[in-house]
Amino acid sequence: MATQHSRSAARIMMAPAVFLLLVWMLVPLSMTLWFSVRSYLPLRGGDQGFVGLENFTRFVTSSAFWPAILTTLIIVGGVLLISIVFGILLAMLLDQPMWGQGVVRILVIAPFFVMPTVSALVWKNMFMDPVNGLFAHLWRFFGADPIVWLSDASVFSIIMIVSWQWLPFATLILLTAIQSLDSEQLEAAEMDGANPLARFAFITLPHLSRAITIVILIQTIFLLAVFAEIFVTTGGAFGTRTLTYLIYQRVLESQNVGLGSAGGVYAIILANIVALFLMRIVGKNLDR
C-alpha cells in the first residue's frame, strides 16, 4: 500500500491536523510557563518582571492551596467511587434479560447528555433548594428540618450532582465490557462449582478490570477539570473550591495571572500523570 506517492500524500494530509494541534498545545503552554515566572497583574501595573519560582512557592503556600487539593481529591475520589461501584452493579443488572431493556438503557444514559450548567442548576434549585426544593419537601414530609444542601453539605452535594452526570458513562462502558464476556466462561465456572459471588470475583471482575481502569482514567481527567457545576452552584464557596476553580479565581477574578499560571502548571503536571497511564493502555490497544 505504501508507495512514495502515497507516503508523501499522507504526510501532507496529516499536516493540518498535526500543525493545528501543535500550535494549540505549544503556544498557550509556553505562554503559561512564561507568565508563571513573572509577576503579572493586568489590572494593577501589568507585567512587573521576572520573579523566578516565587509564584510557584506562593501558590503552594497560600492558605487556599491545601484545602483546594483536598477538595479536589474528595470530589474526584467520591465521584469515581460512586460511579464505579454503582456502575458495575447497574451494568450487571442491565445485562440481565428483562422487558424493555432498550428503554431502560436510554433512561440511564440520559444524564450524560445534559449540559453541565443545566444539571447543576436543576439540582441546585429544584432539588436542593432549602425552601422549595423537592428534598426540602421530602424532609418536611418526614418531619425533619430541610438541609441547606449547598452550604451545609456542599462538597457532598457537588459529588452527587457530578456523579449523576458520570454514572451513566461508567455504566455504559462497563455494560459494553460485560457484554463482551463470553458466557461460556461463566458456565464453565458454574460447572466447576463456583457460586455467583465467586463467579463475580474470579471471572466478571477480572474481565472488567481493563474497562474499570479506562473509566477511572478518563473520568479522572474530566473530573479534575470540573468547572461549570461549581461555577453555577456555590461559586467556589463553602469549601467547594477545587484546584481548577482556585486557578480560575486567581486568573480571572483576582487577575493575578502570574500566580494563576503557576497553578496552571501544577494542574498540567497533575493531569499528565493520569494521562500517562491512560495512554499506556490505549497504546497497547493499537498494537493488535
Partner: protein, 335 residues
Amino acid sequence: MGRITLDKVQKAFGEVEVIPPLDLTIEDGEFVVFVGPSGCGKSTLLRLIAGLEDVTGGQIRIDGNDATSVPPAKRGLAMVFQSYALYPHMSVRKNIAFPLRMAKMEQAEQDRRVQAAADVLNLSDYIDRRPGQLSGGQRQRVAIGRAIVREPSAFLFDEPLSNLDAALRHGMRLEISELHKRLDTTMIYVTHDQVEAMTMADKIVVLQAGVIEQVGSPLELYKTPRNLFVAGFIGSPKMNFFDGAEAAKHDAHTIGIRPEHLTVSTTEGMWKGTVGVAEHLGSDTFMHIHPEANPSETITVRVGGEFSATHGDTVFLTPASDNIHRFDADGMRMG
C-alpha cells in the same frame, strides 16, 4: 498493446529483501502465470507492476516507456483482487463504470461500455444490485467487468479464484481463458493452483523466495524442469525423487519420475513394494507405495482408470525409461 519489461527489478521491505534483482519480459497479448509457494513474492511482484508498491531498484517498462515512478492510475493496467475489492456502496453498474467516470468519459459512451461488459460477463440481470447482494462468482465477474471496461493494456489478477468453490472455479477459469482469447490483451495471473497455471498459461513463471526458477510454456516446464524445485513444484501428484544407488545407475545425483510415468504390475517389474494407501478416483487411481528396498519412503503412482489394490498388497513398479529426469548435485537438470 501491453509489453511489460522488468529490468533488474528489486524489492525490499525495510531490511528484508523479498525480491532480489529480477529480469522478466512479458510479451504483448501473452497470458503469463506466476506460481510459487506461499510467501515467495508473487503478489509483491504483481503489485510492483501495478504501481501499488515502489520498486527498491530497477526499472519497469510498459510498451517501452519507463513506468517505474508512474502512479498506478496512470499505468493503464487493470487489476482484479483476491477479495474482489468491489465498492460496496455502488451498484454493479456504478462499480463497472467507475474507471470510466474517473477517466471523465462521456456518459453515453460509459453506458455503452458498461452494457457491453455486462453482456459479455452475463451480469445484465444484476446490474442494479449492490455487491453485497451477489454471490461470490457474480462478484468475481463484476470485478472482471470493472477491469475490462477501460480497455487496459494489461490485466493483473491476484489469485482471483481462490475464494470460490471448486465448480465455480472451473467455470470462471474457462471464462477468463475465453476472455483472453477474445480480447487478446496481456494478462498476468497469480495463483498457487497447479491446474490453473497449467491450463491457462501461455507462459509460466515459477518463483521461489523472489527468484525466478524457470520461465516457459506449461509443457516445457512439465517436460524439462530446469531444476529440482521446478520439477517438484509442477505436476500433480508430485514427482518422485530417488537419490543414491538408483540415481547412480543413471549417472545422476538425483533422478525424478512422475507418478504417471510408472507402470504397475502385480506380477513383475523393476522395483518391488507394498501398497500403503490407494486412492480410487474412478478416472484414476493414485497409489502410495513403500518400496521393499527402503520401506520408509513412499513412491506415488498414478494409474489411469481403476486399479484394484488395497493396503498391504505387493506390487511391482517399472519407470518409463525415456521419462526419467536427471539432476546433478546442485539440483540442476542434466542432459
